[in-house]
Amino acid sequence: MAAKPIPQQVLYCPVCSLPAEYCEYGPDFEKCKPWLIKNAPELYPELAKEAADKTAEQLEGLEVSSASKSQGSTSDSKPEEVKKLPGGKVKKKEKPEVVVEKVVRNKRKCVTIIKGLDMFGVKLSDASKKLGKKFASGASVVKGPTEKEQIDVQGDIMYDIVEFITETWTNVPESAIYFMEEGRKVPATA
């Protein structure tokens, strides 16, 4: 006989009653946000950023970043720090970059977020299709927290992404690709 199943605990949002991960589709996402920032930061890492710094310069590039489940709060990165960070590149504001970030959405699933390809004249819907095909995964263009569009790819593709980007879109130099790691932007070419 089958083992006795153990009931799972689901994090329901007290504001809209839905599982917290569906708040974004609920009747009033804005109202859920304060609760989500406190209680489900790992589901909506972009909210903490949004709240922490509304005036932040949008990271204009492709960022790849990784966050693990135990570090749910790493996403409240300080944009200041990011700007000064690696290689002493100060003029990032004008420079097109691609930033890749891995976000763990819940216990095991993660999403790799790619921002900034559009700055290199890449059509995001095409890019999304290519990424989905290449990594046999779900890829979609979504509105990011700063109203800019980004590509979300299901799964962890950090490993191959740089090679894929530079080979597919040859006008994107490797040096313009960054990973977001624990809230910090680091060059993909280490």
């Binding site: 009931p7 991960e21 569906y22 609920g26 959405r105 779900g138 979609s140």
Partner: protein, 181 residues
């Protein structure tokens, strides 16, 4: 189906006879064998089992005022989403892509392309006319309970039209009905 459901549309709530209770238990345990070990807790033999009759031939199976299962006429019993969330592995799953989520949550039936696209996923074992959990790309928990109109294989090969009827979804009337008084 439960889009505008409220407890007011329940026409009758009846405690069922022991023989009917046994039948209900049996069909639930046949449909969801993984639930069998806890069926005594879910549907305690000693607590009265209530069947609430609603519009459109929908029946709710209610224990201690909490709706746990529903069916249409004498079709298969399906768990409420709240129950499924606790025991997610009892049902076969189909996954819709991210783009389909908002339509499913508005009550739309599930179109084949939403299941066959890159973000979707099909369990090829799923036959036609089967209860299934509808999952979503990038999400951990089910957002709807569906009843397949065609088999997963047909959904894949035909890839047109409605593949799965949307029976119950997050934030519909049944979701909002936590308790029946």
């Amino acid at each position: 189906m439960f889009k505008k459901f409220t407890s007011e549309e329940i026409s009758a709530q009846n405690q069922v006879k022991a023989s009917v209770q046994r039948k209900i238990r049996q069909s639930i345990s046949e449909e969801y064998p993984d639930l069998e070990p806890i069926l005594d807790e879910l549907l305690p033999k000693k607590s009265p089992l209530i069947v609430a009759k609603c519009q459109n031939h929908i029946n709710l199976v209610v224990v201690n005022n909490v709706p746990l299962f529903f069916n249409v006429r004498d079709g298969p019993y399906m768990p409420t989403l709240r129950l499924l969330h606790q025991y997610p592995s009892i049902m076969k799953m189909l996954r819709v892509d991210r783009g389909a989520i908002k339509f499913v949550l508005a009550g739309a039936n599930i179109m084949c392309p939403g299941l066959t696209s890159a973000g979707g996923a099909l369990d090829e074992e799923v036959p036609a006319e089967a209860p299934v959990a509808i999952m979503a790309e990038g999400k951990q928990h089910a957002l709807a309970i569906g009843y397949t109109k065609m088999s997963a294989k047909d959904i894949k090969s035909i890839n047109k039209g409605i593949g799965v009827d949307n029976m119950h979804y997050l934030n519909d009337g049944l979701w909002k009905t936590l308790h029946l008084d």
